[in-house]
């Protein structure tokens, strides 16, 4: 795969060739373009930012300007093989509902998010006593789009409570993979592949 952000690279590698995907919060369409060009996917997206949507359409992608909190409701059940939510869960008003929508629309769902329990974040909060500004979370608390910070263990607890099956999980520290052992402490990013079992 061409130079993709590490969490997107994990998703791209693990999407079955020729499948249909909906990337919710697809940004400028980098992942969708890679899936279309390298895995022959029927790749569609949703994105909040008008300039990004324009960029996607100019790349020949089918992308709708919309809000993950409101507009997912208009997609039919099981209409794609994979619904993807990368680095967006923590920006939604109701992450739990967004997750339910993903698993309604997609047969499976990829979800990636930054881990708020990473040791750098913990140290920053512990010693600084201020909301962490790290390479992972570079924006101050008052202007960050991340309104629902979560940890890997939080996410595991939520999917367990909702009866969602974890089909795969990958943990990243920078560009490198890290082991599931102590991931909640060591991983900056997590990618989960989920299904309704």
């Amino acid at each position: 795969m061409s130079k993709l952000r590490p969490d997107l690279a994990v998703i791209a590698v693990n999407v079955a060739p020729g499948s249909s995907v909906l990337d919710v919060g697809c940004g400028d369409g980098t992942l969708l373009a890679a899936l279309r060009d390298e895995k022959q996917c029927d790749a569609r997206g949703m994105e909040l930012d008008s300039a990004n949507v324009g960029e996607c359409v100019a790349r020949g992608l089918s992308v709708i300007q919309g809000d993950a909190d409101k507009d997912l409701a208009f997609y039919p059940d099981k209409s794609v093989d994979y619904a993807i939510l990368s680095q967006t869960l923590q920006t939604t008003m109701r992450p739990d509902m967004a997750l339910e929508q993903l698993l309604r629309i997609g047969r499976k769902a990829f979800v990636s998010f930054p881990n708020f329990a990473h040791w750098r974040v913990r140290l920053s909060l512990l010693w600084g006593g201020r909301m962490p500004v790290t390479r992972l979370l570079p924006v101050a608390w008052y202007e960050t789009p991340n309104i629902h910070h979560l940890t890997i263990d939080d996410f595991r607890a939520l999917v367990k409570e909702r009866g969602i099956a974890v089909e795969g999980c990958w943990f990243l520290s920078g560009d490198t993979r890290c082991s599931p052992a102590a991931a909640n402490f060591r991983a900056e990013h997590a990618v989960f592949l989920l299904s309704r079992g």
Binding site: R44, S50, V57, A58, Q65, F74
Partner: protein
């Protein structure tokens, strides 16, 4: 018609068969005036049909024969433009009911007199039937895309839904799948202005005009003034005119055009009457008011697209209050429900509904990108 400053470059197709209409009636001897630019590929698969708006015409990139003004979408259509005539065979046809060469109420009926109000009420789908007849005549089985803004967008939707095998893509700009009560209301104001003009004579004014008399120019110009307001944004009007006075330092305490905005609207209304037929205005606004694509398909918009395999792109503008973003979203949701590939973007532009005709670089990028595939 009076002095033509330019030679009309349109071609005219005469239909051998009567055109069936939604009203149950049919039209004999239909003429369709159109322009085509670029070269049709040997596989005949690079044709783009551009559908024009209410008062538009086939002169999409050639000078208007009556006003001498450049084509209405020269900024979008031409060699190297987003709708690239070096690459695509671009067709634009005057809709039936209009007055720029296609059969309309000003045309002569089989009895040799102008139709006037004897012209049958037509619909958007009837206009599209005219386009399909043209595609048949040109030997184009399937379009690369149908593209339109405003009423042109309605035709694009209607064509993609009702003649689903005839296009592989539809680009719908600043449009809607149905006319709202507000849309109908504004049109009714315009129609009443025309019909209240004594010179309208129940639509039978053509003979009087030939004799040097007047047609319902007053009424038509008021209709255009009212409509023109709906094409602009409040902020756009304020920027352009504010409360500035027209060539005077003081208000006159009379009813001259004291304000620049009044003078502008009067000019817009008056100049419109030089190029447009009042009865055509009645018939075309009626067609738009009757448009409800869901109603044609059992009340569910998604059903309209059940047979479609096309790609869709919808664009709205944040300052367009005539066909606001919610109308485009309504179509997008239906296309989603039908499982069709669709793109949608709301662009920011200050000009209101007319933004689709004006300088909005983001629109160029979207149009070019969508058509490139």
């Amino acid at each position: 018609m009076a002095t033509a400053r330019n030679i009309d470059t349109s071609k005219v197709l005469e239909l051998a068969e009567p055109l069936p209409l939604d009203s149950g009636r049919s039209l004999e001897g239909v003429r369709i005036a159109y322009e085509a630019h670029g070269t049709l590929s040997p596989a005949r698969d690079n044709a783009i049909l551009i559908a024009h708006a209410l008062t538009g015409d086939q002169h999409v990139m050639s000078d208007h024969p009556k006003t001498g003004k450049p084509g209405w979408w020269v900024r979008m259509v031409g060699p190297g433009k987003p709708i690239d005539t070096d690459r695509f065979y671009v067709i634009c046809a005057n809709v039936i009911g209009s007055c720029m060469g296609s059969t309309g109420p000003a045309s002569l009926a089989p009895d040799g007199a102008p139709y006037g109000m004897r012209f049958p009420v037509i619909t958007i789908r009837d206009m599209v039937r005219g386009h399909i007849a043209l595609l048949d005549a040109l030997g184009i089985e399937s379009l690369h895309a149908v593209v339109g803004g405003s009423m042109g967008g309605m035709q694009a939707l209607s064509l993609a839904a009702n003649f689903s095998d005839r296009t592989r893509a539809a680009l719908v700009i600043a449009s809607t799948a149905r006319h709202s009560a507000q849309n109908i209301a504004f049109h009714e104001v315009g129609r009443q202005a025309i019909m209240a003009d004594p010179a309208w004579r129940e639509g039978d004014y053509y003979a009087a005009k030939v004799d040097g008399g007047k047609g319902p120019e007053k009424g038509l110009s008021v209709a255009r003034m009212a409509a023109h307001i709906t094409y602009l944004s409040e902020a756009g009007l304020t920027d352009k005119f504010g409360r500035r006075l027209q060539d005077r330092a003081e208000k006159t305490f009379g009813f001259d055009a004291d304000f620049q905005v009044e003078s502008y609207l009067r000019y817009q209304g008056l100049s419109f009457t030089d190029r447009f037929d009042a009865n055509s205005y009645l018939y075309i606004t009626r067609a738009m008011d009757y448009f409800d694509l869901a109603e044609e398909h059992g009340g569910l918009l998604a059903n309209a697209f059940a047979g479609s395999m096309a790609r869709y792109c919808l664009v709205s503008f944040d300052t367009d209050w005539l066909y606001p973003t919610a109308e485009s979203r309504n179509v997008v949701h239906a296309l989603n429900a039908a499982g069709l590939p669709v793109s949608f973007v709301e662009l920011s532009a200050p000009y209101g509904h007319d933004s689709f005709l004006l300088d909005v670089p983001a629109l160029d990028r979207v149009v070019e990108g969508f058509l490139k595939q």
